[in-house]
């Protein structure tokens, strides 16, 4: 009985070893393109990547989504990224200044607008315009962290331009990325939030758009190839593909506008 148990245990260990080995080995003859993209591009980039993969057999696109500021940090510190798509020219410029971006590969691929959203149902605060954020019914307003989330930086510009930042500041709650801001609003944890039009379009039944905002620098999404990428031609092809009519149509369908 003990020998039987020992044999089956040995069999189990062998099987586990083979399984581990299989997991560790890269899938043969596949090329993986790592694309770091701003959180707000999430669904659009997934759709675009799927089309790109379909048009390039053997190529797999690995998406890494996050706040543009965080993505820059990752690239600057040597993360193995091939293409970087930022929600903010300034964030991309930081990467260019750090010498990690092939500057000539930079292309603007889309535009977006900043909107003010409120919970679609159950919101207690009365927010019909930007100025209402200073009203007595508003407790919490969510924005992205201005230092790392472009949508948060744009939101601060909007509040500054409207002369409201001093009054709204104590009510601000900071999201890690624009999607977290959207989530806070959708759950009703905050009374209002600043997100992109494309984000608000994802949850029409959970968030209501109060209005499109002005007073901030244009929301442009630049894409560029990382200089340390070992797949320069493929990375450049991906950036070019983002400007193709096919990819542009997908971006528009997800609430972005043409560059």
């Amino acid at each position: 009985m003990t020998t039987g148990a020992a044999r089956s245990r040995r069999g189990f260990i062998a099987a586990a070893g083979w399984a581990l080995l299989a997991l560790a080995l890269p899938v043969a003859a596949q090329q993986t393109l790592s694309v770091s993209a701003a959180s707000s591009l999430g669904e659009a980039m997934r759709a675009v990547s799927a089309r790109f993969e379909a048009a390039h057999p053997g190529v797999r696109v690995r998406l890494n989504l996050g706040a543009s500021g965080l993505l820059v940090q990752q690239v600057v510190h040597g993360a193995p990224v091939d293409v970087f798509v930022s929600a903010d020219p300034e964030a991309l410029q930081r990467a260019v200044d750090a010498g990690v971006i092939a500057a000539d590969s930079r292309r603007d691929i889309a535009r977006n607008s900043l909107v003010l959203v409120v919970p679609a149902t159950g919101g207690r605060a009365d927010v019909r315009a930007l100025v209402d954020l200073t009203g007595p019914t508003v407790r919490r307003v969510a924005i992205g962290k201005p230092a790392s989330v472009p949508a948060g930086r744009y939101a601060m510009q909007v509040l500054d331009a409207a002369g409201l930042s001093a009054q709204v500041q104590p009510r601000l709650v900071f999201g890690d990325n624009v999607r977290q801001v959207l989530d806070y609003v959708a759950r009703g944890e905050v009374d209002a939030g600043f997100v992109y039009r494309s984000d608000a379009a994802m949850m029409p039944e959970r968030v209501r758009t109060v209005g499109v905002l002005g007073g901030h620098s244009p929301v442009v999404y630049p894409a560029a190839v990382v200089s340390a990428s070992r797949q320069q031609p493929l990375a450049r092809e991906f950036v070019a593909y983002l400007l193709s009519p096919e990819a542009q149509a997908l971006l528009v369908r997800h609430g972005f506008s043409a560059p």
Binding site: A67, G69, L70, V72, Q73, V76, R94, G122, R140, K145, A147, S148, L172, V173, F174, G175, D176, R187, G188, E189, V190
Partner: protein
Amino acid sequence: MPLLPLLRDFDAAPLALTLRVAVFATAIALLLGVALGWLFARTRLPGRSVLEALCMLPLVLPPTVLGYGLLVVMGRRGVVGAWLHEHFDYSVIFHWHGAVLASALVALPLVLKGASTAFAQVDRTLEDAARTLNQSALSVFLRVTLPLAWPGILAGTLLAFARAMGEFGASLMVAGSIPGQTQTAAMAVYDAVQAGRDDVAALLALAISALSVAILLLSNRLLAPQPPVR
């Protein structure tokens, strides 16, 4: 690196908040952990093992699961959160109390395990002896059981304090990272790295490390010279 201006602008608020959160969270975990530890070690409560497993869960779960759970339960639309908001106009979301709650939950299993093991190892004959000396149940607990179990409870509590100081994921999801209000040292490091302020992050990391070493030294001091158990 311009160290002097960096030191001058150094914001100690996240460190102070971290200590405040850890102290409150550990206090809650200590009270609950001792009570539950005694319950699990000394009583034949039905469903005891399931309850104990549930209490140990925060130790095993990813912090994000705990954070999500707290958001769902304590959020403005959660069962408990909606009630609190309705009746007391109070919410732990985006409040440092939320960080205390999250930290207390992750710290609880450490106190609980230490306490229940310690209670199980206390010599029952000593308690019986105290009872023959006409001591009340509470008196036996306070004067015999608790002092004998104390080293185990203290060890668990110090671990709990360390864990509470380092809590990040669940607290971030529940309390947010609002500078000066809910931003603990762990969150301040995270924000500084995201914003590319490596100098601030490094200084904070040094400060946290120094603080942690101080606490560890203190705890060794507290734990080391134990009177021999007679």
